[in-house]
Symmetry: C2
Subunit: 420 residues, 2 copies
């Protein structure tokens, strides 16, 4: 096991150990936001039949080849084709059929003239322009032919994909499974939010922020509750999470004297891959895997107990792993350059993740520190729209410096107007 | 009713008619992504009691005021305080208590020295530094006092908020109701995706893309199915949607000769506010409201039948209305400048919404047209990462021009690295 590694080394180890989950088949309507696990091959033609792109008249182009505004040609309106109807009649020479947009072009006809280009009087139709052959006819299979590979594996399914799948008649689609994350916390001092805090107990708030982070990263949290400070209870809680894809434990406020989690994990066969990352907040982060590489045991993250440290380490390491599990290739948050609004200082050695508010000034972002950066104070995370990366080796960043910021709150990109 | 108005006029009318929905109370764990409807006032203290910020020893600062490394002062370790325990014993003069991070500071003690600054031998503790009074003690209520207004109405609840609410012991929270959207389509030519298309019928794919768009904008779709082309069936379907906050109908491929929707809406008391917007795709968009302004009848959108037109008009008008209903103030997508990769031409008169793929080149975006822009072809929407605004009065945009693009796929902002 490695100890005290850099955040980049830690992330490398985590992602190397993270598989992509296998496929499952879900109802196409329920597939929003999922990643396609197989290409989609069309089973039908779109459009299904030659159909009209306009409201107008279906006819034989040869009949009206000499039509001009000054010398319109007369045809007889023989019948009408509604959209969705199967035209049984045939358009004969000298005939036309009234047709609506989307309706199938009847046999015999080869072109459609727009209703703006004709004059009608009862059964008489005066055509004033000569349409090129095939004018205003959408040919069967113009968009999709059976056998066409229309969507590729890896596509993130959005509303347009779902509409398209519907138009292909697909009711079921193969997507990557959603990661399931077992969440537990541990510590005799912890109680659930409805517990008694009058005796100095602390609410296990981490479970709630972590479960919400799982959802934000597209995963399904399974909350296992609070393990008490005995080896037996810790082991029992961990065992309850072994069927998940990821096991996330957050300690109580201290791990010092009573860290049974590590012992229990080792007993269950967890290979611990690292402990301790050169970052602040969040040094005491542990990562391992149950079972051999490739064997599919859950990834195990032991997060620090401080609320901000727990959220930050989740954000930096668990989140990208969840996205990889789900088949996504966009693992990381947006990165922007911003101008620092005030001086920042720290001891050199660890990469600091500084919570900032992002103010838009023209095309530029200005980063403001969100007050108290103590790792016990969730308020800095509530206000955080971005996470400023204060490099490990640096000890001072002056106001006005350009800094790199991970964007947490994507509404900072939202515009005040639609642009029109 | 106004006709043929600009997109900006249409949006103005829609938003002026759109209320913010009333509040509901939901479980705090289920409140992710919701907008707070009332300020949150703390009902308890955080931290609940004076507690230790370090693993170390609680003592009386006055006892060790003269301690130095060369001349440590001896105290007696009288007892130990675990995190979460209520300390019943008192630290007397000349005494210290072993204490873990987060554990309540016992009566009598006023400061904590870190374990790195002492040497212990059985009950004897040698203190090598003199702590300032209050050193390493987090005071009760330091972060939050009862009565503090800790979150403001309008806050979008993220994972940190949920953790914070848990730590306050809040199990229920007042948020804006989620908009419910009744979705229907109409046309004799339409079938559900599992219907028979061999006779020229067309799949009602719009309902599926629209329901997914509702979800993406945070709303709850209620799909009412396909209304047949009779006034009775259209009216029956519309009535089924009257309890929703928004009613979205999309016609079949044509509305021309058989638009019963408008008649049925008027019969139900809908005030139609506009019909026809100077945009492409999407001209035949209708908007109205059932009931008087302020009375709370549903907003009614009659979308065009073409798949791309339906999605585009939803995106531009229904989406921002849904966000406003839900209490959000970030109504619009991000807007970026991009360099146009190829020439674009159109007739002047209507604002064109051109589907583009966005390529990142350094700090710049390059916009590539996503092939066939026909309003019948969903593939252009599937590939669209952005919507280029081709102004109404313009007729030509040359390759290399700077254009304005609404960002649809926010993963275009995602970085290839975490930035460290």
């Amino acid at each position: 096991m490695r100890e005290g590694i850099t955040p980049a080394e830690a992330l490398g180890i985590v992602l190397a150990e993270t598989p992509v989950l296998p496929a499952e088949r879900v109802g196409a309507r329920e597939a929003l936001g999922r990643v396609l696990a197989e290409p989609v091959v069309a089973g039908r033609r779109i459009p299904p039949a030659d159909n009209s792109a306009m409201d107008g008249y279906a006819l034989r182009a040869a009949d009206v080849a000499d039509a001009r505004v000054e010398a319109p040609i007369e045809l007889r309106v023989a019948f009408e084709v509604a959209a969705g109807a199967t035209p049984l009649s045939r358009v004969g020479p000298g005939e036309a059929a009234r047709i609506l947009t989307g309706a199938p072009v009847p046999p015999g006809a080869d072109s459609v003239v727009r209703q703006e280009d004709v004059e009608r009087d009862g059964e008489s139709l005066w055509v004033r322009v000569a349409p090129p052959l095939g004018e205003n006819v959408r040919t069967a299979g113009e968009d999709v032919e059976p056998g066409d590979r229309v969507l590729e594996a890896g596509a993130l399914l959005g509303p347009a994909h779902l509409g398209f799948l519907a138009s292909l008649g697909r009711s079921v689609v193969a997507v990557r499974q959603r990661p399931r994350v077992a969440v537990l916390s541990g510590g005799d001092e912890l109680v659930e939010p409805d517990g008694d805090v009058s005796t100095g107990a602390i609410v296990s708030s981490n479970s709630y922020s972590i479960a919400a982070q799982c959802r934000e990263f597209g995963a399904e949290p399974v909350y296992l509750g609070i393990a008490r400070d005995t080896p037996q209870d810790v082991e029992a809680h961990l065992r309850a999470g072994l069927r998940a894809d990821v096991l996330v434990s957050s300690a109580g406020v201290s791990v010092g004297d009573r860290d049974y989690v590590r012992g229990a994990l080792e007993k269950l066969g967890c290979r611990l891959l690292f402990w301790g990352v050169q970052m602040k907040p969040g040094y005491p982060l542990a990562f391992g895997r149950l079972g051999e590489t490739g064997e599919g045991g859950p990834l195990v993250f032991g997060l620090p107990g401080n609320p901000v440290s727990a959220m930050m380490t989740f954000d930096q390491f668990v989140g990208p792993a969840l996205r990889k599990l789900a088949g996504s290739t966009a693992l990381f948050r947006p990165l922007v350059n911003a101008r620092l609004a005030e001086d920042l200082e720290k001891k050199p050695g660890r990469l600091n993740f500084v919570r900032v508010r992002l103010e838009r000034q023209g095309d530029e972002f200005v980063a403001h520190i969100t007050g108290n950066q103590s790792s016990g104070v969730l308020r800095s995370m509530i206000l955080a729209q971005g996470i400023l990366l204060f490099p490990a080796e640096a000890s001072r960043l002056e106001a006005g410096t350009q800094v790199r910021v991970q964007v947490v709150d994507s509404s900072v990109f939202a515009a005040d107007t639609p642009g029109f």
